[in-house]
């Protein structure tokens, strides 16, 4: 799976997350008046929407890395983090909506076309920030948090506007919230893919074996390579490798690969090395694995 198709998969997951979250959101919204307080109502609503979107994004890593047994754990952890992020996002977004809405309501008399859309967009942007940060928190990656926050912010903004204007321009259109949620999901997914590339210092492409064609963005300070599914580059099908075979660290802006288990030989451009600064175009052989370092 190339980086392009990984990006498409994450985009699709964002879409599906929005799709699945929508009925749940409608159900809770429908019973709004039965809740004792806005606090309880918004916490539950945000938690459920966040959990569903978080679950879909959480499964992304397992799907794109083709390590199927990573999926359930990613899904559950994504749901858990998303649940917290969603609840916080709904509350902070609501506070923003009431604050901004209160001010706009006073400054512009046009509630329908200006006050509500603008306030809603800002509220949604805040909600999006929290939902988008979830996936980064789950994978403990500050860069992914930053990426998700930006995607969530923009997606929430656009989604909030879309929600409000689709309701205004198409009276009787019942799917307006679905539009908003799907846009939010797509934007977060799009940004995960898009900015991950901009923030990476290259791509590692697996050249042969079961994961042939799979590409990994190098976005972290440390990338672990080995058979264990915990590694950023997990190669479980390459039997001769150790659980943690090698790692790549960024030193002064340049990636350096180190062989951590000398019982398996590592060659970079046919030279046996223990540690080597990587240049674009380098060919790495570790045991049966062949990896090509290329520009993202």
């Amino acid at each position: 799976m190339t980086t392009v198709s990984s990006r498409l998969i994450i985009l699709a997951l964002g879409f599906l997350g929005g799709l699945a979250a929508w009925p749940a959101a409608e159900l809770i919204l429908y019973s709004q008046g039965a809740f004792p307080s806005y606090l309880a109502f918004l916490s539950l609503l945000g938690a459920v929407v966040g959990a569903l979107m978080g679950a879909f994004f959480g499964s992304a890593e397992g799907i794109t890395s083709r390590i199927r047994n990573r999926i359930p754990a990613g899904l559950l952890l994504g749901a858990l983090v998303g649940c917290i992020g969603g609840a916080l996002g709904a509350l902070v977004g609501q506070a923003a909506l009431w604050l901004i809405g209160g001010i706009f309501l006073l400054s512009y008399r046009d509630m329908q076309w200006v006050v509500l859309p603008v306030s809603r967009a800002i509220g949604w942007a805040v909600l999006g920030v929290f939902v988008g940060a979830g996936e980064g928190c789950r994978s403990l990656s500050p860069k992914k948090i930053a990426v998700g926050v930006l995607g969530g912010f923009l997606g929430g903004m656009v989604g909030g506007f879309a929600l409000e204007y689709s309701r205004l321009l198409l009276p009787g259109f019942a799917l307006f919230r679905l539009v908003g949620l799907v846009i939010l999901g797509l934007a977060i997914g799009f940004f995960y893919g898009l900015i991950e590339q901009g923030m990476s210092f290259g791509v590692l492409r697996i050249l042969a074996g079961e994961l042939k064609g799979k590409e990994f963005f190098l976005t972290e300070r440390r990338i672990r390579i080995g058979r264990s599914p915990r590694n950023e580059i997990a190669l479980p099908a390459y039997d001769d490798l150790a659980d943690l075979q090698a790692d790549i660290r960024v030193r002064k802006g340049e990636p350096v690969i180190t062989n951590l288990d000398p019982s398996v030989t590592m060659l970079v451009n046919e030279e046996k090395v223990k540690e080597r600064k990587l240049k674009l175009g380098d060919v790495i052989k570790i045991g049966s694995a062949r990896i090509f370092y290329k520009y993202g």
Binding site: A12, Q32, I63, G123
Partner: protein, 474 residues
Amino acid sequence: MTRCFFLGVFLLSVAAGAASALTISLSQIDSSGLLLSQRVNAYVSVTDDQGEPLTSLQQDAFTVSESADGVHYAKLPVIAFEPSAGANRGISFLLVIDNSGSMYDTPDSKPTTDPAKMKITRAKEAVRAFLASMTNPQDKVGLVVFNTRYRLLARPSTDRERVASLLDQITKPVPDEAYTELYGTLKLASQEFAGVSGRKAIIVLSDGENFPYFTHTGKPHPDYGTRVFTYPESIVANQEEGVTVYGIDFGVEVMDKNLRTIAQETGGKTFEAARGEDLNGVYAAIHRQVAGEYLIGYRATTTPAEKKFVQLSVNDAGKESTATRFYFSSIVFGLPLHSLSVVLIIPFVLGFALLWLLTLLKLERRPGPANLEVLQTRIGHPVTRVLPLSATKTVIGGSASADLTIVGAPQVRQEHATILFDPKDKSYTVVGSGDITVNNQPVKTRKLEPGDVIDVGGATIVFDDSKDRKQEKK
């Protein structure tokens, strides 16, 4: 700095009813506690037919109701009641005094040279009396004068002596400064409360209409240029800061027709003090009214609505009065649908079904036949990206007759490299006629392993032979 945003907005009606001898006025709705404590606070004042505040009413005299549509109201229990909330917490006043030319006439609008007969002198005396009557150490007071120009003399502070001494600085304006920028002044004055918490009130004393400089002279205003302020701007600015505007009409002929609206929409009212006799009394009445406000807190409903109407009623010995305002209650997710349908289950199930399908996608790679794949080229591009190796001899080069053609790359020879199949040991060997590298090492000929990277004049080509690898393993 924490600014308190009061979300109470339009004063929809002060349904006082002229016959009723009781008037309730809803000056502020503070819904800032809605999210965390579900609480809304309303500040109300109740006056009798003389305009005198009634400050000794009990909690049971008030009823609070809320409505999502402005039609159907539900009565809600009062959870907090504080009489004289203003007096207890201190009030910040900003005294705004008209210093236009006509203020130097007599109360009957006759020119005079005797300062004692001038309206401005009466106004200064009334302000001094007002300052002297302020006994709550928490009360603050500030001073602004205006005509064509806006002039801040003191921001609201507890230093009342200073304000009293500043009154002497008010002098008669030159003719060009004798216009009345009432609306602009009220907008600017609201900003003087920035950073001040608690109850805030402007008391504006004017003897005429809004009379903008630019409109009447055609010349740009020295501060505002060609900008002319409108009265809704003054309303909005004061509502944003949570400032209540009280107006004192000190003229004989025309009171500004919108000053009453500005006062009403900010929760205040206007007083007539023509001829100046009762001016001291008016200032005192305003102070009493603000100080005598009741704080009434209630637990809000969660009924879906973009805005909620709050209705406060008072009933004192059969005399009744009601006031209504609304606050913003929109939910970030929007209003619920009118009805739910079982069809909603479809997107939910569909989302998860497609997720499951994605997890099945290309998880396993089936071993394929030996092939070459062009990963990237420095210059030019390949005609085919993936080429299965079926023949015993495969030519890579720039020639159109090559098996794998790289076009547009001058450094690639017509027949740059050849891959030969050896049926004996089912192996492939690359032979270069031009310069080639395998795994970045220059070679002339080399037996290939799966995953080897061949560079042919800047084109990066991967060789793979999964079947071969499986056999090797066996």
